[in-house]
C-alpha cells in the first residue's frame, strides 16, 4: 500500500486495521468480536490508520490496541480516559477510541468516567462489560450481580448493588449513550460508527462475555434484544428507558446535543510579549 492510499484512508478493509499480533484471549471470548466491530467501523468511517488512536488501560479487553494497526496507548489500569483526553485535546485532528473493561472503567477508573462524561471531549469509549475481572482471574467487578458467589474473594457474593453504567453516564452528562452485544458484531460496529460521528463524549457499553469466569454468559444470546424505540434526545425519557431496562436491550439510548469540549486557544502573542510583563 502506498503512503498516499494510507493518507486518505481510501478503501481500507477491516482487516487492514488489524495487526498480525495474535490476541492472548481465551477462545470464545467476546472481545474478539469487539475487535472485529472496531475494525469494521473504521473501515466504514474511512479513517486513515495514522489518524486514529486506540487508548486503553489494563485488563483482557484493554489489550485491544496492540491487535490493531493504529497508533495506540496501553497505559495503566483505570486511566485510559484521562490519557485519551490529553491526546484528543492536544491533537483534535485525531479520531480517538478508548477501550477497556468494566473493572478498568467503572472501578479503578470510575472517577475519570464521571468526568469524561461531563467534560464531553470528542472521544468514543467502548467498555467490554463482562461483569467480572477477567485478567486477574475472576473477581467481582462493579457490574457483577450482588449475589454472584463465583469468586474466592467474595464467597458470599458482594452484597453490593451493581453499578449502572448507562444511568451514570446519562447523569454525568455523556452525549451519546448506547449498548451493544458482542454476539452482534455488525450491530456494535454500527454503534461505533455513530458514536464516532456524534460530537462529544460517546459511551458504548458492549456486553462481552467472559467464557472462562462467567461461562453462564453464553446464555446472553437468548436474553439480548434490540430496542424497538428511536433514540431520544430527551434526557428524562432516556433516563426512564435506561432505568426500566433489564440491561439486555441494545441500541442507542440517548443522543445529546451538548457542544463538545473546546479548549480556548489563539496564537496572538509571542513569548517576548508575555515576558515583557515582568520587566521593571
Amino acid at each position: 500500500m502506498t503512503a498516499m492510499e494510507q493518507a486518505v484512508g481510501a478503501g481500507l478493509q477491516p482487516k487492514d486495521y488489524k495487526s498480525d499480533y495474535k490476541p492472548i484471549w481465551c477462545p470464545g471470548c467476546g472481545d474478539y468480536s469487539v475487535l472485529t466491530s472496531i475494525t469494521k467501523a473504521l473501515s466504514v468511517l474511512g479513517v486513515a490508520r495514522e489518524n486514529a488512536a486506540v487508548v486503553s488501560g489494563i485488563g483482557c479487553s484493554s489489550r485491544i490496541p496492540a491487535y490493531t494497526s493504529l497508533y495506540g496507548f496501553h497505559g495503566v489500569h483505570g486511566r485510559a480516559l484521562a490519557l485519551a483526553t490529553g491526546l484528543k485535546i492536544a491533537r483534535p485532528d485525531l479520531t480517538v477510541l478508548v477501550t477497556g473493561g468494566d473493572g478498568d472503567g467503572f472501578s479503578i477508573g470510575g472517577n475519570h468516567f464521571l468526568h469524561a462524561c461531563r467534560r464531553n471531549v470528542d472521544l468514543t469509549y467502548i467498555v467490554m462489560d463482562n461483569q467480572v475481572y477477567g485478567m486477574t482471574k475472576g473477581q467481582a467487578s462493579p457490574t457483577t450481580a450482588s449475589e454472584w458467589e463465583g469468586s474466592k474473594l467474595t464467597p458470599h457474593g458482594t452484597g453490593v448493588s451493581p453499578f449502572q453504567p448507562l444511568a451514570v453516564a446519562l447523569a454525568a452528562g455523556a452525549n451519546f449513550i448506547a449498548r451493544g452485544y458482542a454476539g452482534d458484531p455488525n450491530g456494535v460496529a454500527r454503534l461505533i460508527v455513530e458514536g464516532v460521528q456524534h460530537p462529544g463524549f460517546s459511551f458504548i457499553q458492549v456486553l462481552s462475555q467472559c467464557v472462562t469466569y462467567r461461562a453462564e454468559q453464553r446464555e446472553w444470546r437468548s436474553r439480548v434484544r434490540p430496542s424497538a424505540k428511536e433514540p431520544t434526545a430527551n434526557a428524562a425519557r432516556a433516563s426512564r428507558r435506561i432505568l426500566d431496562d433489564d440491561g439486555f436491550t441494545t441500541g442507542i439510548f440517548y443522543l445529546g446535543s451538548r457542544p463538545p469540549y473546546q479548549p480556548v486557544t489563539a496564537t496572538d502573542r509571542t513569548l517576548a510579549d508575555i515576558e515583557q510583563r515582568f520587566v521593571i
Partner: protein, 605 residues
C-alpha cells in the same frame, strides 16, 4: 548599626573540560566580578490577613526595584483560607539577594497576636527596630526579650485628617523613608496600582504614604541603603512564575492541572499565557488524571508539563513509571511543602527528594532536577523540558514553597537555547521499530498522524517493535536501553553550580543554596576558603563529575532542609565523600539561614 549581608556574587570555578554549552543566565558571567560586601535591610510587616501587609510589602519591593535596588519578598500565612495572620518579609539590597538572610532589621507590627504567630520566623536583635502602635498594649516577650529598639507608631494621630487613610500605607511610607527610597518611586508604584480605583483612593493612599515619610524623618537613619546602578533589564517575578516562563521557553504547549498549594500559581500563570501561544491547559479531576492527560498530550507530540506538590506527586508515581516504560517525555514540577501527608501546605521543606529519586517501582531510570534560586527556576524548568524531550523520559523538577512563592528582583534571564527537540520518526517508516535498540538508547518516536509509524506505546515490557513481551532478553535489552540513554547523555556543566574553591565544601541543593552562597562569601571574607556545590541534576547521578568537583576537598558540610537527612543519605549512597563530613539539617518550615551555615564552617577550622 547596619546589618550587613555579603553579596552572593561568588567567584565560580569553571570546569575547563566541560563541553561548551549554549549560554544560560549563569553565575559564571557574574563570577568575573570580585566579591563585594554590600548592605541589605530585612523588613517584616505583620498583621491580620486583612491588614494589607502583603500589599504594602509588594509595593515596597516594586518601588525599591524602581529606585535602584534588588530584593525579594516572601509571604508567610497562617492556615486560614482568608484572614488569619500574615507576614510580608522583604530583604532589600543594592546587590543580588538570594535568600531571606539571618534576621529582621525592621519590624512593623499591626497587631501583637498575629506577630506572635511568627515568633519562630522573626529573629530580632538589639540593633533591630520595632514599630507598633502603643494602643496595641504591652508587647509580647518575643519583642521585649530581644532587646530591639522600640518606636511608637501612633496610627490614629498619623492618620488624622486623612479620610479613609490606611495604616498599611503609613507603614509603607515609613519603611520607604527609613531605607531612603525616593518618594516619587513609591508614588509611581501607587499610581500604577490605583489607576482604576479613582481619585479619592489615590489621594488617601498618597497622604498615608506622605505621613509615613514625615514620621520616618525623625527616626534613626541607620538603615539607609545606597542605590546602585542596576542591570539594564530586570524582572520582578516569583519562582512559580519563573517556572512557567522556563516551561514556555522550553517549548511546553500542553499542560494538565490539578490545583495544590504551593504549586497552583504555576498552573494559574500558565493557563492564560499558554492560551496566547496556541497551547492548551486542561483542568483535570485529580492528579491521576492530570499526569495521564500529560502523557496523552505528549504521545500526541507536544512538549508537556504538569505541576503539583507532595500529595499530588505521590498520586502520579504509577504513571511516572508508565512514562519511563513507554518512553513518553513529560515534565512534573513538584513544589515541595512540609510533609508527610497534608503536612504543612503553606510552608517549605526539602523532604520529597526520596520520592522523586527512588519513588518509582521497578528499575525506572528518570531525570530529577532541582532549582536553586528564583532566577534559576527559569533556567532549570527550561533545561528540564529540554532533557525530557531529548531523552524521551519523565523529568521531575524539584522546587519548593520558599522559591516558588518568593517574589524577587532578578536580572532578566538570558534565553538559553534549550528548546524541546524530540527525535521523531519520519519519512520511509517501513518496518518501523518504536523501541529500536540504538547506541544512544534514544529511539526515534513516531507522532500520530505519521503514516507508517503506527505503534502502541506500552507500559508492559516490550520488544523493539513495541509488542508486549515477558522474555528475559527483551526485558534486559530494554532496561539497558532506557538506562543507557540517561547515562550517555552529556549534561554539560549544568549538573551543578560550583562556586569558589577550598578544602571545605558545602554540598547542598535547592533553596538551601541561597543561604549557602551567602555563608560561603562571608567565610571567604573572614579568610576561610570554601567551595560550594549545589546539585541541579539529582538523577541520573553524575559520579565522575562529582568526584572531580570534590578533588582537593577534605571536609564536606551537607546542608539540607529535611528531618531525616534525605540528601545526606542520597550523597552517601551514590558518591564517595571524604571522611570528615558534617550535616546541617533541619525540617521546615524554619529556613536555614546563612549564619547557621557560616557558624558550622567557622567552627570547623
Amino acid at each position: 548599626m547596619l546589618s550587613t549581608a555579603e553579596s552572593t556574587r561568588a567567584s565560580g570555578s569553571s570546569e575547563a573540560n566541560e563541553p561548551s554549552e549554549p549560554s544560560r543566565p549563569s553565575r559564571a558571567r557574574k563570577s568575573a566580578q570580585d566579591t563585594r560586601v554590600a548592605s541589605s535591610v530585612s523588613i517584616a510587616l505583620t498583621g491580620s490577613g486583612g491588614s494589607g501587609v502583603m500589599t504594602a510589602g509588594q509595593m515596597l519591593l516594586d518601588a525599591a526595584a524602581r529606585g535602584g535596588f534588588q530584593g525579594m519578598m516572601t509571604r508567610s500565612l497562617g492556615p486560614q483560607i482568608r484572614g488569619g495572620e500574615a507576614e510580608a518579609f522583604l530583604r532589600l539590597s543594592a546587590s543580588e539577594v538570594t535568600c531571606p538572610g539571618d534576621g529582621v532589621d525592621i519590624l512593623i507590627a499591626f497587631d501583637w497576636t498575629s506577630t506572635e504567630r511568627f515568633a519562630g520566623e522573626i529573629s530580632l536583635k538589639p540593633s533591630s527596630l520595632v514599630l507598633a502602635d502603643p494602643e496595641l498594649g504591652p508587647a509580647p516577650a518575643m519583642i521585649t526579650g530581644s532587646g530591639a529598639r522600640r518606636i511608637d507608631l501612633p496610627l490614629k494621630a498619623l492618620l488624622a485628617g486623612i479620610p479613609d487613610g490606611r495604616p498599611n500605607m503609613v507603614g509603607l511610607g515609613i519603611l520607604a523613608g527609613l531605607i531612603g527610597l525616593p518618594e516619587d518611586s513609591v508614588l509611581a508604584v501607587l499610581n500604577r496600582m490605583l489607576k482604576r480605583k479613582g481619585a479619592e483612593a489615590l489621594a488617601a493612599s498618597t497622604a498615608g504614604i506622605q505621613a509615613g515619610y514625615a514620621a520616618a524623618a525623625d527616626m534613626p537613619a541607620d538603615f539607609r541603603l545606597t542605590a546602585a546602578k542596576q542591570a539594564a533589564s530586570r524582572w520582578n517575578i516569583s519562582g512559580n512564575e519563573a517556572i512557567g516562563v522556563g516551561a514556555l521557553r522550553g517549548g511546553v504547549r500542553f499542560v494538565a492541572a490539578y490545583p495544590i498549594t504551593p504549586a497552583t500559581e504555576i498552573l494559574e500563570w500558565l493557563a492564560p499565557n499558554l492560551e496566547h501561544l496556541g497551547g492548551e491547559l486542561v483542568q483535570a479531576e485529580d492528579e491521576l488524571a492530570s499526569i495521564n492527560m500529560a502523557v496523552g498530550g505528549s504521545f500526541g507530540g507536544l512538549a508537556t508539563l504538569t505541576a503539583t506538590s507532595g500529595p499530588g506527586l505521590a498520586l502520579m508515581i504509577e504513571t511516572l513509571g508508565l512514562s519511563v516504560a513507554s518512553e513518553t517525555p513529560l515534565v512534573v514540577v513538584n513544589v515541595q511543602r512540609g510533609g508527610p501527608s497534608t503536612g504543612i501546605p503553606t510552608k517549605s521543606e526539602q523532604s520529597d527528594l526520596n520520592i522523586a529519586v527512588y519513588g518509582l517501582h521497578g528499575d525506572a531510570p528518570h531525570i530529577v532536577t532541582a532549582t536553586n534560586s528564583v532566577a534559576d527556576c527559569v533556567f532549570t524548568a527550561q533545561w528540564s523540558v529540554y532533557l525530557a524531550e531529548a531523552l524521551q523520559s519523565p523529568a521531575i523538577v524539584l522546587t519548593d514553597q520558599l522559591l516558588g512563592q518568593t517574589r524577587a528582583i532578578i536580572e532578566a534571564p538570558e534565553g538559553a537555547s534549550f528548546v524541546a527537540r524530540r527525535e521523531v520518526a519520519e519519512g520511509d517508516l517501513e518496518n518501523y521499530l518504536r523501541y529500536a535498540v540504538t547506541e544512544s538508547g534514544v529511539s526515534p518516536m513516531a507522532i500520530p498522524g505519521t503514516p507508517g509509524g503506527e505503534y502502541v506505546a506500552d507500559g508492559l515490557e516490550h520488544t523493539p517493535r513495541g509488542r508486549p513481551s515477558s522474555q528475559a532478553e527483551d526485558h534486559l535489552t530494554q532496561l539497558d536501553k532506557r538506562n543507557r540513554k540517561l547515562e550517555l547523555f552529556d549534561y554539560g556543566k549544568h549538573w551543578a553550580d560550583i562556586e569558589g574553591d577550598g578544602e571545605i565544601a558545602v554540598v547542598t541543593w535547592g533553596s538551601c543554596t541561597g543561604p549557602a552562597r551567602e555563608a560561603r562569601v562571608r567565610a571567604e571574607a573572614a579568610g576561610l576558603k570554601v567551595k560550594l556545590i549545589s546539585l541541579r541534576l539529582l538523577a541520573p547521578m553524575q559520579t565522575a563529575r562529582f568526584e572531580k568537583a570534590l578533588k582537593g576537598v577534605k571536609k564536606v558540610l551537607v546542608v539540607e532542609q529535611s528531618h531525616s537527612q534525605q540528601f545526606y543519605h542520597y550523597l552517601r549512597a551514590h558518591y564517595d565523600l571524604p571522611k570528615d563530613v558534617k550535616v546541617l539539617s533541619r525540617p521546615g518550615p524554619l529556613p536555614i539561614r546563612p549564619a547557621h551555615i557560616y557558624e558550622r564552617l567557622a567552627d570547623w577550622s
